[in-house]
Amino acid sequence: MNEIEEKNNIITLGFWIYLMTDLVMFSVVFSTYAVLHNSTFGGPSSQDLFQLPFVLKETLILLTSSFTMGLAMLAVQSRKAKSAVAWLAVTGILGATFLTMEMSEFAGLIRDGASYTRSAFLSSYFALVGTHGLHIAVGLLWIVIMICIILRRGLSPSTSRKLTLLSLFCHFLDIVWIFIFTMVYLMGTMH
């Protein structure tokens, strides 16, 4: 193993450690939601608020963006800069669509008087889903930056290392969303 490869491995491992601590943070917000999800304080409950078909669409969009991120990484592996940029752009558009849908859902809830100040349930809901949305926003910014870097410098070894970290980040957010989808939306609307 040469020196660059060894350095890349150490950096990837460091980023993986960050992702795992981020996962611990998410699990704290998840626990908060699990403890408080019935504390509606006379306000609307999860069964009154959530629309499953809408959330299913969000989930499928995020899953597809995770897949297109994988396709971008395949393009990076075979040194095709143009198709890497194209797949990154598709991933970014899907991620932006997801974030827009989530923001419109939040806006709708707040408009209907179900904002984060209404009850402990809604505070924990906004904290959990909002934290995920914030991560997605950071991911989008990162995708835009990476597209600019590829367009300017091509696929250098350091660029492809950064792209590996970005792909880990995207797949990680997708995994967190599976649990939000299951725990908040599916369980919240079941009878």
Binding site: N9, W16, T21, F67, L71, F172, T182, H191
Partner: protein, 116 residues
């Protein structure tokens, strides 16, 4: 944690598996043919199956060369998270039970067969 050689097959199978698991979970949660307890069990199992599918096919966990530090760190995080999540739920449920208002107290008295 080194970068394994990634393949299209891995991503395609991960994607197909994830989408079908998502649809299955959605169907199990909305279909009236399940009782709520069994539907709950099904969707939890499906979520964990999808977790494994994405870890293997998207994040390529465990495909690195030895020593598998990435897998080790993941395992440590999972242990920490389990203690945190189940511990919180356990403690908070107990607190609800012990520090409950008057009408709950009468329920507990009846429930535990204690006569007042």
């Amino acid at each position: 944690m080194d970068k394994p050689h990634i393949t299209l097959t891995s991503y395609v199978s991960g994607f197909i598996l994830s989408v079908s698991l998502t649809f299955f979970a959605y169907w199990a949660a909305t279909s009236p043919s399940f009782e709520s307890k069994s539907a709950l069990g099904i969707i939890i199992v499906l979520a964990f199956l999808q977790l494994v599918a994405q870890l293997v096919f998207f994040l390529h966990l465990g495909k690195e060369s030895k020593p598998r530090l990435g897998l080790f760190i993941f395992g440590t995080a999972v242990i920490g998270i389990s203690i945190l999540v189940f511990g919180s739920l356990w403690i908070m449920n107990h607190l609800n039970y012990r520090m409950s208002p008057a009408d709950m107290n009468s329920f507990i008295v009846k429930n535990e067969g204690i006569s007042q």
